[in-house]
């Protein structure tokens, strides 16, 4: 309560009326005061309290500068007689030493309450909250008292950063300006990002060439460098680049296009397929080929057509389940089945996911392997509530 000053109820130049309410009393902390049944007027900068009519006559009234307010909260009191009413609590800063005289000089409380017979209206409450949050006084109160000083500042030039900041935040216009500036900044950032992308696209071919050079270098050195995993990993990554992707535009007929494409796929995937144990699902093929091609992406359909044209060391194979894979021609079903049987024997029985994990291949391929081994009578299945497992085919070959 000791933050209040006696002030004439007049608006400053840049102060704007915000809201008013009637029948308001002020509490100093939680204690009632003699200031009851008054009228409050909220401006952008201050809160006035006067007896009815005083504010209208511009008489001397109680005034609280809003810059003393730290925060606002509300409490709802319900009483049997008066119904529900809302009180507002304003938490205040320590009074400044140069404060003008007010109704109370000392108060142990650092908050006041505004209340009334029927509480304060919702409109006034929300106006109060918004005004306090807006903190317009921070912007304007400072240059106000010394108009001479502000003039001299202006004469020194308008690029004083403090003043610029003030300008930016002044009023609705200021808010609009700052929004505009932000939008422009975002725009610039996006443009810059796309500029980068354009540069990247222009450079793509060179980048692929560089990676090719590095990969051959690594390959040449492979004999000397130990089989370090990082080196292997790098060479693996770099081997993905295709220098000159086959594109449809360069071919007059589809069949020529697919034949060239098939050849390129074959060159690209021969090593990876061997590494993966001789088989690669078409989904993996699709990902790898397109990753290697970079920006000249292939459609799944074109890839399939090309794969159907394959007739070198790699062949397209369709399993009875419908799954399609690229498979090395040297890859023999008997061999795969025998290999799979070994794995199953070693663990007594295997589920699809267990084999996939052990061999580091996809679930689809693991399942096809097991099914292929089953078709050759090497393993047999156990279907139960625990899922599908495969066992060595003891039913046929118990002694083996």
């Amino acid at each position: 309560m000791n933050r209040f000053e006696y002030v004439e109820a007049r608006l400053h130049d840049d102060e704007i009326f915000v809201s008013r309410d009637r029948n308001v009393k002020i509490y100093d902390g939680d204690h009632k005061t003699e200031y009851e049944e008054g009228e409050v007027v909220l401006t952008t900068h201050r809160l006035f309290w006067g007896r009815p009519g005083e504010i209208a006559r511009a008489a001397t009234t109680l005034c609280l500068s809003l810059r003393h307010v730290i925060s606002l909260s509300e409490e709802t009191a319900s009483s049997y007689f008066f119904g529900r009413k809302t009180r507002y609590i304003l938490y205040l800063r320590e009074p400044p030493p140069d404060k003008a005289p007010g109704p109370i000089d000392h108060s142990p409380h650092s908050h006041i309450k505004l209340s009334g017979k029927n509480g304060l209206t919702q409109e006034f409450g929300s106006a109060l909250r918004q005004t306090i949050e807006a903190r317009i006084w921070e912007v304007l109160v400072i240059p106000k008292p010394l108009s001479v000083a502000s003039n001299s500042q202006n004469s020194h030039g308008g690029d004083n950063p403090a003043q610029l900041r003030l300008k930016m935040r002044t009023g609705i216009g200021g808010i609009e300006r700052s929004i505009e500036a932000k939008a422009k900044e975002t725009d610039d950032n996006i443009a810059l990002a796309f500029q980068d992308l354009n540069v990247l696209m222009a450079m793509a071919k060179d980048m692929v060439a560089i990676s090719k050079v590095i990969s051959t270098k690594i390959r040449e050195q492979k004999g000397e460098i130990s089989d370090d995993e990082t080196v292997r990993f790098k060479s693996y990554l770099l081997s993905l680049g295709i220098e000159d992707p086959v594109t449809r535009e360069n071919f007059s007929s589809n069949s020529d296009y697919f034949r060239s494409l098939a050849q390129q796929i074959c060159e690209l995937l021969l090593d990876p397929i061997e590494e993966q144990g001789g088989m690669m699902s078409l989904a993996d093929v699709y990902c790898r080929v397109n990753r290697a091609r970079g920006l000249e992406l292939l459609s799944a359909e074109d890839l399939l057509h090309a794969c159907q044209q394959l007739n070198g060391p790699i062949k397209l194979r369709k399993f009875p389940s419908g799954a399609m894979v690229l498979q090395l021609e040297s890859q023999d079903d008997e061999l795969v089945a025998a290999d799979t049987l070994e794995k199953v024997k070693m663990s007594k029985s295997l589920a699809v996911e267990e084999l996939a994990k052990e061999l580091g291949i996809s679930l689809l391929l693991a399942k096809e392997r097991l099914l292929a081994a089953e078709r050759l009578g090497k393993v047999c299945r156990d279907e139960s509530i625990e899922g599908l497992r495969f066992y060595p085919n003891l039913l046929l070959h118990r002694d083996s």
Binding site: C380, D382, S384, L395, L396
Partner: protein, 175 residues
């Protein structure tokens, strides 16, 4: 006292309970099952099974938590039917009659026994043949009367006997 039934090793092999898609494996599997069916049912002197009887040890190995599905049981029973060791008792093929000898084999056994004991041209009751003192020690002693009756029907078709209804039982006259 009955001795413990000796299960084949397959009975503890989980895939044995799943009908195998691989043809050769499946044939072998069904063969082992068929033998097991006949052996186990003979051991229990049981002649009738229900494919939904899922706690029956023949269909269900609790130790490894595996059981035959009704479909697989049907496949095995159909195989037994082809070799003359089983016949469905209802249209939905739920209840089955299963016998370790074929009906013809039973019929011949009984006929030989009748001949040897000089009972041709006299009427014997079904009970006498299946459970009577005289037939003790023969392979068909203790066989389900319904199974024997079916066996005599085949014999009747060949004109070697005649089945006559006696109140609530049957009498058979062999020629």
């Amino acid at each position: 006292m009955m001795t413990e039934f000796e299960w084949p090793w397959e009975y503890t092999f989980p895939p044995f309970f799943t009908l195998q898609p691989h043809e050769e494996t499946r044939n072998q599997q069904i063969k082992v099952w068929s033998d097991l069916f006949l052996r186990y049912l003979k051991y229990l002197n049981k002649f009738q099974v229900n494919i939904n009887e899922n706690t029956f040890p023949l269909f269900n190995n609790d130790a490894i938590k595996r059981r035959l599905s009704p479909e697989t049981i049907t496949v095995i029973l159909e195989q037994l039917q082809r070799t003359g060791h089983a016949a469905p008792l209802d249209k939905r093929r739920i209840e089955w009659q299963v016998y370790s000898y074929t009906l013809e084999e039973y019929a011949n056994m009984v006929y030989d026994w009748i001949q040897q004991t000089g009972q041709l041209n006299t009427i014997c009751t079904l009970y006498e043949i299946a459970s009577g003192e005289n037939s003790e020690g023969t392979e068909f002693h203790g066989v389900d009367e319904a199974v024997l009756l079916n066996a005599f029907r085949t014999l009747e078709n060949k004109g070697k006997c005649e089945v006559v209804q006696l109140d609530d039982s049957f009498g058979i006259k062999f020629f």
